[in-house]
């Protein structure tokens, strides 16, 4: 059974391809597709995961297993807010993009931005979820100064998408491995504003620019076992929303936010331990470290017989001390008094609408990684190239122009990546085009230029643009591959350096390198090095 094979840590390529074909052959009715996908997701969800990473091994050595779930908020990059026509852009002057509706003034009513629904369906499909043909909004009620209406419009019992999964590959440097993590639900909601606390702490100010900005909340199953897995889950969601174009997924700006729930239990115990929520992590690296710290903290308490000190609470990650601190304890659950939002009608979708979105979906990170893998690239290459949709597109385009996959990958991951990092640019901001990278690779391969010359040309192309051909001609960089021409230069160098020639004859054979260097210099670096050394060797031998 193909589905059974999907449970494995590393599913054979053939089986995965078959699974893909299996899904591809599904036709109408659409609901059956959703049902099948949901069933598939359930069947494929890992019941137990072989933890190959060091962290997991360390947990096991101590007799404990961690259980980790993540709630991710993705801020959508719609032009306007979820329920009014205000624009939003990060960093605006406080309270400059507000109106009576998003400020919760009396008499105002929400009007749903249709783009939010489209983004939600798009992400739901990408997460292999079952899409709700009818979903609804609810009110989540609590008082806080950044919440203008005293309630948040969200989705409670009927989210727009549920019961999906996310496939990902763990980084090679952490041992690699493929994972499938369950997604419990995806729901739409609005963001709150932001509080700006005075330095003295004596007062706070409210910035409502962010109030009403649309969010998608993605709740995972408690399927993760290590900080690395959780961090990679977050990173994969970031890739996904960027690939889809629904969000810029920027953690530093708060457009992608992860809150994690961590508990530990003795190996073999089926019940979960007491869950602790951790907030305030603004990078995936911080997520990994925060979770590892929390796991260690909880295991230590267990070992010291103080497990009762693990209480249901929210803790904050402190980057400077690399520890978590108690933010608030949950003395009983908060009662948000959810009830259906009476000012908004139900969200009713049609099969045609969902099909239309499905048909416009781009290739997603997981599919791209498998395709790259099938080209014979190493997993390290695959992960790098598929990490950024822009890079992947550049790579694909380079191949479309005829370049070899491995060579293209090397150039992109090597000199191009180094340049981008140094200059703090993204690949779509440079002037080098995929066509020209392909031309460059071809020029080196067919001997027109050397690899060394190629690097110089690359820098030129990245910074200034142009074509490989024009740069070569402009800088007179064509590699010299004519034996007669090289022979003439060798003869000249030998004639110009009689002293060194005499010394070579006396036994200092290492001087061949000197002569080679001189010839290369005379040729302005354009002499074919293989041919050069062959001819030089013969000349020296004849003269000895």
């Amino acid at each position: 059974m193909a589905l059974t094979l999907l449970r494995g840590m590393r599913t054979p390529v053939v089986a995965r391809r078959n699974a893909g074909l299996f899904f591809t052959t599904l036709q109408s009715p659409l609901l059956s597709r959703f049902t099948m996908r949901a069933e598939s997701a359930r069947a494929a969800a890992p019941k137990s995961i072989q933890l190959a990473t060091k962290e997991a091994a360390e947990q096991k050595a101590q007799g404990f297993e961690a259980v980790i779930g993540i709630e991710t908020h993705v801020q959508l990059s719609t032009v306007t807010k979820a329920f009014c026509s205000c624009p939003y852009s990060y960093g605006s002057q406080p309270n400059s993009t507000v109106c009576p509706t998003c400020m919760g003034h009396p008499g105002t009513l929400p009007v749903l931005n249709a783009k939010v629904v489209e983004c939600a369906v798009r992400l739901g499909l990408a997460l292999n979820c079952e899409i709700a043909m009818t979903s609804k909004f609810d009110r989540k009620q609590y008082f806080y100064p950044d919440l203008p209406k005293g309630y948040q419009i969200s989705q409670f019992d009927i989210p727009i998408a549920k019961e999906g999964y996310l496939d990902l590959d763990l980084p090679v440097e952490f041992g690699g491995g493929h994972r499938r993590f369950g997604v419990t639900r995806v729901h739409m909601e609005e963001d709150a504003g932001k509080l700006l606390h005075s330095e003295s702490g004596s007062y706070s100010q409210v910035d409502l620019n962010r109030a009403g900005v649309p969010l998608l909340e993605i709740v995972s199953e408690p399927d993760m076992r290590t900080g690395i897995e959780a961090a990679e889950y977050g990173a994969e969601l970031q890739r996904l929303v960027r690939y889809l174009g629904v969000s810029n997924g920027n953690m530093q700006e708060g457009s992608l936010r992860c809150d994690v729930n961590v508990s530990v239990r003795p190996i073999g115990q089926s019940n979960f331990g007491t869950k602790v929520e951790i907030k305030n992590m603004n990078s995936f690296s911080a997520i990994s470290r925060a979770i590892d710290y929390e796991i260690s903290r909880q295991i230590l308490l267990h070992k010291e017989g103080q497990a009762d000190q693990i209480v249901q609470e929210t803790r904050l990650w402190d980057e400077s001390s690399q520890k978590t601190f108690t933010m608030r304890k949950k003395e009983g659950l908060a009662d948000y008094r959810y009830f259906p939002e009476p000012d908004l009608p139900e969200v009713v979708l049609t099969s045609e609408y969902i099909d239309e979105i499905q048909n416009s979906m781009p290739e997603l990170p997981e599919a791209k990684r498998r395709r790259f893998e099938n080209m014979g690239l190493s997993m390290q290459d695959v992960l790098f190239l598929a990490n950024d949709d822009n890079v992947a597109r550049f790579f694909d385009s380079t191949l479309e122009h005829g370049a070899d996959a491995k060579l293209a990958a090397n150039w992109i991951m090597g000199d191009i990546a180094a340049y981008l990092k140094n200059e703090k640019l993204s690949i779509d901001e440079i002037k080098l085009t995929p066509l020209e990278l392909s031309e460059l690779i071809a020029s080196i391969r067919n001997g027109t230029i050397s690899g060394k010359i190629g690097k110089e040309i690359l820098i030129e192309l990245i910074a200034k643009g142009g074509t490989v051909k024009s740069v070569i001609e402009e800088k007179d960089l064509v590699q010299i591959a004519d034996p007669a021409a090289i022979e003439a230069m060798v003869d000249q160098v030998l004639a110009d350096n009689p002293k060194q020639l005499e010394q070579y004859r006396s036994g200092k054979t290492k001087l061949q390198g000197f002569f080679a260097g001189q010839v290369m210099k005379a040729s302005k670096g354009k002499a074919n090095p293989v041919l050069l050394n062959k001819i030089l060797g013969e000349k020296l031998k004849a003269n000895s």
Partner: protein, 543 residues
């Protein structure tokens, strides 16, 4: 005699007198003593003030400025007694009237809209950009919105002049208007009695002819019950018929913007202007808007049996225990009158009727507890400083909100709480479904249903102020209509004893969704053929 009535009489003098056979219709008063004041038969047919104004402007007999001055003069004379208005914008009204006159002179009457020169009172829970809007609450004392409610904007665009903001029970919660944070409004029929609520100010203002028509809101009867108490026409449209954008929410799934007029024609005219889909209100309907007024047949063109073929159901549960005998008599007389007009009138039982009141109070309070969360003293409105957040919230809300509002917030919070949601809120929603089903079935058998609009006529100010359950029970006739989302029209139909000239009683007519046109047509026929009654309050005779 008030000038509008006089104008109407002059107009009538140009018409053929009613056909002899129409004179045969007589609704005999069941009261041992008829109202002390009976005016000439011609004046009994609820003249259209809007039509009168339009004809005056068209003929040049009067200017908008003169009409406005007339109403403002009467407003100033009667307001100390009635206290309908929280805010009067008389200077602005005068300026707008003068501007209208200039435009009529240069562009013609048709260019300035069908409501040119019509003075409108607006309930103070509807936002107005150029006037304070308080919702009847001190927590919004001094608050001025940045925008007009859609219904207000549409009236202005139609040429109407908003003369001021009318008093109400705070945020629409109450049935007497005594719940206002600002003042008590009296009934123009007897200043020792309540005008009803929560739109008591809007009803009394029209009754006292302080303005031509007014806007109200109706969550559980807040338009219909005061219409009955004040002897005016009140219409609650189908849920979604009129945009709620700009209406301060009490209970979002029950609230509708309604209207009052001194005649059915005027009420129909207003509805045509304010009804229609609004992109700012996701629950507003795209259902076509009729020209409701044009569907109303003038008295002199009515057939002898204008309601022939129509089936009317009297809701059995509304004529029993708890309803005053005088009210029952008036309703039965109204039913007889409807029969004389050619309809078939039968009693019909709605088994779920008694369940409506408790379900209403659960649902309305639940939604209110959420809707009123925005009044936290942070961004606008009255703020009480505190050393911490809870102190700020607690102080602002304790100080700014009135007793009735606080009680309903607590009731609603309780009903939505974890552990109680299913027993209260969910159960109430299930009852709501039963009520809808019950009305739907009845309205498949009958063209309209009728009932009293309230179990009593207007009671004394202060009489029920310490007995909220007794006040709540007064909503029995009306809350079911909101639960079912149906349209209902209240027309004055009779009197009971009380006051110097008797106290008016209203007949409630309930229709299927979006059947406002039919209700107005029936209401108009009923009104125009009702003999021997005049619904002009003693306050005007006294002035």
């Amino acid at each position: 005699m008030p000038p509008p009535l006089q104008a109407q009489r002059l107009l009538l003098s140009h018409r053929r007198l009613p056909s002899p056979h129409l004179r045969c219709f007589t609704a005999v008063s069941s009261l041992p003593s008829a109202p002390a004041k009976t005016v000439a038969a011609a004046a009994a047919h609820a003249p259209s003030s809007i039509l009168s104004i339009r004809e005056s402007l068209l003929s040049g007999e009067r200017t908008a400025a003169e009409i406005t001055a007339e109403y403002l003069s009467r407003l100033r004379r009667t307001e100390p007694s009635v206290r309908s208005f929280i805010h009067v914008a008389d200077a602005a009204a005068e300026r707008e009237a003068e501007e209208l006159d200039r435009r009529i002179a240069t562009e013609g009457l048709d260019a300035v809209g069908p409501l040119a020169g019509v003075l409108v009172g607006v309930k103070d829970n509807l936002c107005t950009a150029n006037m304070p809007s308080t919702g009847g609450s001190r927590i919004l004392d001094g608050y001025q919105p940045a925008y007009d409610a859609t219904a207000v904007r549409r009236l202005r665009e139609a040429g109407a002049i908003v003369v001021g903001k009318t008093n109400l029970d705070e945020f629409g919660m109450g049935s007497t208007t005594e719940g206002s944070g600002f003042q008590v409004t009296t009934n123009p029929w007897d200043d020792s009695r309540v005008p009803g609520g929560s739109s008591g100010g809007s009803a009394s203002a029209v009754s006292a002819r302080q303005c031509v028509v007014s806007l109200g809101s109706d969550t559980g009867g807040s338009v219909r019950q005061p219409a009955s108490f004040c002897g005016v026409v009140g219409l609650k449209p189908t849920y979604g018929r009129v945009s709620r954008f700009g209406l301060m929410a009490y209970a979002s799934s029950l609230d509708v913007v309604g209207c009052f007029g001194s005649s059915v024609v005027d009420t129909a005219t207003i509805l045509s202007v304010i009804a229609g889909h609004d992109k700012m209100d996701s629950t507003s309907s795209s259902h076509d808007v009729s020209d409701y007024k044009s569907e109303l047949v003038p008295l002199d063109l009515l057939e002898s049996k204008p309601l022939n073929g129509m089936r009317i159901g009297i809701i059995q549960e509304t004529l029993g225990e708890g309803v005053e005998t005088g009210v029952i008599s008036s309703i039965k007389d109204a039913a007889s009158h409807l029969e004389q007009l050619g309809s078939v009138v039968e009693e019909v039982s709605l088994p779920s009727f008694s369940l409506g009141l408790p379900a209403y109070y659960i649902l309305a309070s639940s939604e209110a507890s959420s809707n009123l969360s925005r009044y936290d003293g942070i961004r606008y409105g009255r703020q009480v400083s505190g050393d911490d957040l809870n102190e700020l919230y607690g102080g602002s809300r304790a100080n700014g909100l009135g007793h009735e509002v606080k009680m309903r917030i607590l009731m609603g919070t309780y009903a939505l709480s974890a552990g109680y949601y299913d027993a209260y809120y969910k159960r109430a929603q299930q009852v709501r479904t039963l009520v809808k089903k019950s009305f739907k079935e009845a309205l498949e058998r009958y063209d309209i249903l009728v009932s009293p609009a309230a179990p009593s006529a207007a009671y004394k100010i202060g009489e029920k102020i310490n007995d909220p359950l007794a006040m709540y029970a007064g909503d029995t006739m009306t809350v079911n209509v909101n639960l079912a989302g149906l349209p209902a029209l209240v027309v004055p139909c009779g009197f009971v004893e009380g006051g110097s000239a008797g106290l008016p009683v209203g007949l409630q007519m309930i229709g299927s969704p979006f059947s406002e046109g039919n209700l107005l047509r029936i209401g108009h026929i009923f009104e125009q053929t009702l003999q021997n009654y005049s619904f002009v309050p003693p306050l005007l005779a006294e002035s």
